[in-house]
Amino acid sequence: MSDQPNTPAPEQPGVEQTRIGVDSWVAESEDRQARTRGFFGPAARGWDASPDSVKLFLFIAVAGTLPFWMNAGDLFIYGLFTVLYATLGLGLNVVVGFAGLLDLGYVAYFGIGAYGYALVSSDHYGIHWPTLAALPALTAFTGLVGLLLGFTSRRLVGDYFAIVTLFFLQAFLVFTNTANPDIAGVGLTGGSSGIGNLDPLKFFGYALTSVKQQYYFFLAVLVLATAGLYFANRSRTGRAWRALREDPLAAEVMSIPVNRLKRLAIVMGAALAGLCGGIFAAIQTAVTSSNFTLNVLIFIFAVVILGGLGSIAGPILGAIVINVSFQFLQPQNDHPDIKRWLFYGAIVLFVALMKPWYRAVVVLGGTLAFGFAVHAIVSATAATSWTGGAVTDTGHASVGKAIADWVVIPNQTLHGGFDTYAYIGLVVLVCVVRSTSGWWRSLILIPTLYMTAVVWETVLAPSPAVTAEILFGVLLIVIMTARPQGLIGTARVEIV
């Protein structure tokens, strides 16, 4: 008895068509085609149909034009750093996405590469290797460190490996920051002040000293790494990685040397991170351990998770989204109005994703009304100090006034405890939202959204640096619980 797909039964309008004899993959093909039929249909179809090389060329073309319309300062923050995080994300993706190992010490490889460069290309020990020798050397060295670390966790089971690597990161930070042993009369790592005055990257006498040059160089590295990993993914090694991620035992029985492949992934990820470290150090012309903290690790994780674990383009997309938003939040690049629009815009977008559309409208309208109502009640009944707080950095006065009329911002000095209670209240409300569904959820969403605005204005906006870290943590939780495949990853099917 063969199960060839039969020709579909003739369409009957209004009746749900069950397609007996047609397997589910074929039956779902229409759904897959519907995706490309909407407003962006032709563009989506063109994108899907074009070979991956074309996509890469498009990316290079767009990225390559950046120096022509950005000034050097912006290019450094938005261009160079995005490329850096994209490359780091690619490397982490190999370890976490391909081999399924949680490497929490990844940023230590980044640091080892950077310090390695500092040791061989500066006045610290008077060693000045040419770049063409230094970069490959520290890449190989960092890969070797990764290999050694891989050997210690002999079972290479995810959980233990995570702790070993986290400890390794701690040890690295302690070693470079405080231990700083004396070797050859000089503190090896320069302690908390690090090592400065590093040689710039020099190729055949041509030094990369301007941001534009460094950007193009790093971009080239990113492109090469992307292409290399793309090909690796499509080879027998890539298949073996995916197999061991699916079912390590079955993979092992099917002739795949699981531990060896895991170590290979660790080494490759570490080597790439080391290379990034060396380039980064040269660009900064200095290296301190503060560049390699846990915060940076979480940043890279957020980049990979948001983009999509296991996909090649994922880290690049993730880096763009996260770095650009992050830099907006930085105090020194403060664009207060943009920051605010980003925040409220994100909320509106999130609500707009609700279906059906009228529910979203009700929630948004309700939140506005609720806010004004609360504000009016508080102004009328409570002391003026409850609404007397200052709205932090607004560009336009009218924006500030509108916000002050809507959000209850108490005077900070008189009501110091308000922050904590509001914050905790918000967390509780979010938990309640998560536990309810249907119309109840939409209803509770209204005070929750308002509370979010209150907390933003009073607690978060004044401290953008810490807020960014909080948002990273939340991002990891939300993505793993709601959409584990990230933005452009493919959803995994788990058959329990």
Partner: protein, 271 residues
């Protein structure tokens, strides 16, 4: 009718001698001797908990025996990691399917060829001609193995994710994946589990085809006696880790100890 002289001398391919294994205090396999000759189909039967799957796990290196010898074509497998055993020529399917579900059908069959191929990740990243040639060979071999099952796993099915296959097709895919390792002995763990009579009949014929056309040696765990009867050259019965009978199907099926193991003492008395 072939004369005895023209029949080839049966050559042992897989030999187990005195194999014992315990989990904690529980003795699961007790001093087991087993021989599987080339191009034979040997079925292992026994009630649940008899140690059949443990036997497979021992042969494929997932567990290490406490005592005893396991030899494939004269070479000892004890202590070898599973992926090396796979390369030596022992491949298996799992009682509870363990496919690479999120990979496509053809990728499943291509992935298991890892042990016979050698292009490393460096050459892959540069897409050398050697790498491209090997990829083509891998793909061709995968398609060939899948064609063993008729039209079912061919054509448009190649690029479907494995989780979209029907149950029977998944069992077939798992066999195909094991075949792609070019094994000398195939260990099939309950290949007919959960199948209707027609599918069971097909599986029985398939196993015969594997032996006759494919030249495989097959060690089979099965509960369905139709399959066992239909295809086995020899049957081995286990109970509580001990071999209690061995021989042709008729001899084993009527052996009083086997009946007792499956049905209890009363059954042997009432027979």
């Amino acid at each position: 009718m072939t004369t005895p002289e023209s029949k080839p001398e049966p050559r042992p391919l897989l030999e187990l001698a005195g194999v014992s294994m315990s989990f904690g205090g529980l003795l699961v396999i007790d001093d087991l001797d087993l021989v599987v000759n080339e191009r034979e189909v040997v079925s292992v039967i026994g009630p649940n908990g008899a140690g059949k799957t443990t036997l497979f796990n021992l042969i494929t290196g997932i567990y290490a025996p406490d005592r005893g010898e396991i030899r494939l074509d004269g070479e000892s497998l004890v202590g070898m990691p599973p992926h090396k055993i796979a390369r030596r020529g022992a491949a298996r399917t799992f009682q509870t399917l363990r496919l690479f579900l999120n990979m496509s059908v053809i990728e499943n069959v291509m992935a298991s060829q890892y042990g016979q191929t050698k292009v490393g990740v460096a050459r892959a990243m540069f897409r050398t001609p050697a790498m491209r040639r090997e990829e083509r060979e891998i793909r061709a071999r995968a398609e060939e193995k899948l064609s063993f099952f008729g039209e079912r796993l061919m054509g448009y099915r190649w690029d479907q994710p494995a989780y979209s296959l029907s149950y029977a097709n998944r069992r077939r895919l798992e066999i195909a994946r094991a075949m792609a390792t070019e094994p000398r002995i195939l260990l099939l763990d309950e290949p007919a589990a959960g199948m209707n009579p027609t599918e069971t009949h097909e599986i029985t014929e398939l196993i015969g085809k594997l032996r006759d056309d494919g030249g495989y040696t097959i060690l089979l765990i099965e509960h369905d006696m139709h399959v066992v009867e239909g295809i086995s050259d020899r049957v081995v019965a286990l109970d509580h880790g001990v071999k209690i009978a061995e021989g042709s199907f008729d001899a084993v099926a009527t052996d009083p100890r086997v009946v007792e193991a499956y049905l209890g003492t009363k059954a042997t008395e009432t027979k």
